[in-house]
């Protein structure tokens, strides 16, 4: 089965049950991770997802997150997700898709397919490393801070809520800050009266490999609260780990960049929807002409002329 580069860059296909176009979002943190390798002896092209390194050396987050933790968390856990994903995807219909597309497809509206776990975890960890930086923490600024204050009351209230979400995600999982653009809380419902106020920041938590992409949100920040993320450094003290993450590790610059992309993407989508709505309206006159054709055929049976537009 051959995958061509043109298919990769303009991927559109419909999920039969939903009938909408698969979103082809790209996030700044996920650069093209596909490398098409032509095997020497055969005509088979295999797509490989690569384990991307964090944007800093493994010891750069010390003393807040130890080198040992990075070595295991990135070097073993994250690596295993990527390797197992490659094994699951090769030779299947998923081959050649971007990581986000695999996540959406294998999420399968909740009826999860086998590759979901590895795909989502591969993506989540990329997103996590990039959410942090040496000398991180502090406070955001600009529009991001303004939105945080608008949607949570104050930066302090936001911190409280985020920490609480991370601490109360029972078992394994993640806590997120996400940008929710124009979505209603009910699946597949269309917002009948969209407004600027519908676009807002939300805090959500998710179990195991789940992430807000499947709810069509734009993730902005995440913290990994699987025990492997903090056990070597903090043992059972998850709240301490969360505090250190917020105060010393969060890269607000990255979050800001993601917010700008999210806003741009949301605006793009709105324009697309407008365009499509206009196309549908313009399609109406054609219907009236068809009615005329019918009338003609009715009146004049010998005339097989149905060429009129």
């Amino acid at each position: 089965m051959a995958a061509t580069t043109s298919m990769v860059t303009s991927l559109t296909f419909t999920i039969p049950s939903l009938g909408f176009r698969l979103p082809t979002r790209s996030y700044p943190c996920v650069k093209p991770q596909r490398r098409f390798v032509r095997k020497a002896a055969s005509n088979v092209i295999t797509a490989t997802y690569e384990l991307k390194a964090p944007p800093y050396p493994l010891n750069a987050l010390e003393p807040h997150m130890s080198r040992e933790t990075l070595e295991y968390h990135w070097g073993k856990h994250h690596r295993t997700y990527v390797e197992n994903l490659n094994k699951q995807v090769v030779g299947t219909d998923l081959e050649g898709l971007s990581l986000e597309d695999i996540i959406i497809v294998t999420y399968n509206k909740g009826d999860i397919l086998p590759a979901f776990n590895n795909a989502a975890q591969a993506w989540n960890h990329d997103f996590f490393w990039e959410s942090m930086k040496p000398g991180g923490g502090g406070k955001p600024s600009g529009d991001l801070l303004h939105l945080i204050e608008r949607d949570f009351g104050s930066f302090e209230r936001f911190i409280e809520e985020f920490k609480s979400a991370a601490a109360t995600q029972f078992g394994s999982g993640w806590a997120w800050l996400a940008y929710k653009a124009n979505r209603l809380d009910v699946e597949n419902a269309v917002n009948p009266w969209p407004s600027e106020k519908d676009k807002k920041l939300v805090i959500v938590k998710s179990p195991n490999a789940m992430n807000p992409l499947v709810w069509d949100y734009f993730p902005l920040l995440t913290i990994d609260v699987w025990e492997h993320a903090y056990y070597l450094d903090f043992q059972n003290q998850r709240p301490d780990y969360i505090s250190v993450f917020m105060e010393k590790l969060v890269s607000w610059e990255t979050v800001n960049t993601r917010l700008e992309k999210a806003k741009a993407r949301a605006a793009e989508r709105e324009m697309e929807e407008e365009r499509r709505r206009k196309e549908e309206e313009e399609g109406k006159p054609t219907n009236e002409e068809d009615d005329d054709d019918d009338l003609e055929m009715y009146v004049d049976n010998d005339n097989d002329d149905s060429e009129a537009e």
Partner: protein, 231 residues
Amino acid sequence: MALRSSVTRRTLTLGLNSTRLLPLSRSLQTFSLPDLPYDYGALEPAISGEIMQLHHQKHHHTYITNYNKALEQLHEAIQKGDSSTVVKLQSAIKFNGGGHVNHSIFWKNLAPIREGGGEPPKASLGWAIDTHFGSLESLIQKMNTEGAALQGSGWVWLGVNKELKKLVIETTPNQDPLVTKGPHLVPLLGIDVWEHAYYLQYKNVRPDYLKNIWKVINWKYASEVYEKECA
């Protein structure tokens, strides 16, 4: 050494007459951390003393603390007839109560080698295992496979369906007790596969933890439970 009962009773008010319709408050049981019947280091090298101590004194203890708190809040909400709160508390009770139930069983599932840890089951349980799984090795392999494949946090169980008198292998997510997989299921053996159960020693290699834990599994306890249910 027999395990002390882990229940302490704290009476609030009188009123044991349950035939009346008045909402009389009954005494609220609170729970406390059961002692381990062996030292923290006694299960080495299969499970390190460091893990046993953290697991018992921190994780299990925290489940109990939060379970007691949730029960107290539930007690209050029931008395007030506050159904919203009663329902809201269910997940905290499931998490923390489940954590207490599961870990209480787990400590009994383990024993130092010199006290019989790792000794294969005999008598009726041994026979049932051979009949149902072919051999003890086959059972162990199956449980290890299920335990390794479990995504996230949870438990892998050997249980018995007390109605059908059949052995089963099941997994449960998070701290769900085995009974959530079937009302007639009784746990004989549970293996904790939350990362906190093995991470400091085995890191990401859960299969190694699963391979080694069988050296300290207390089959005597499992047999006792089995015989009680299938007498």
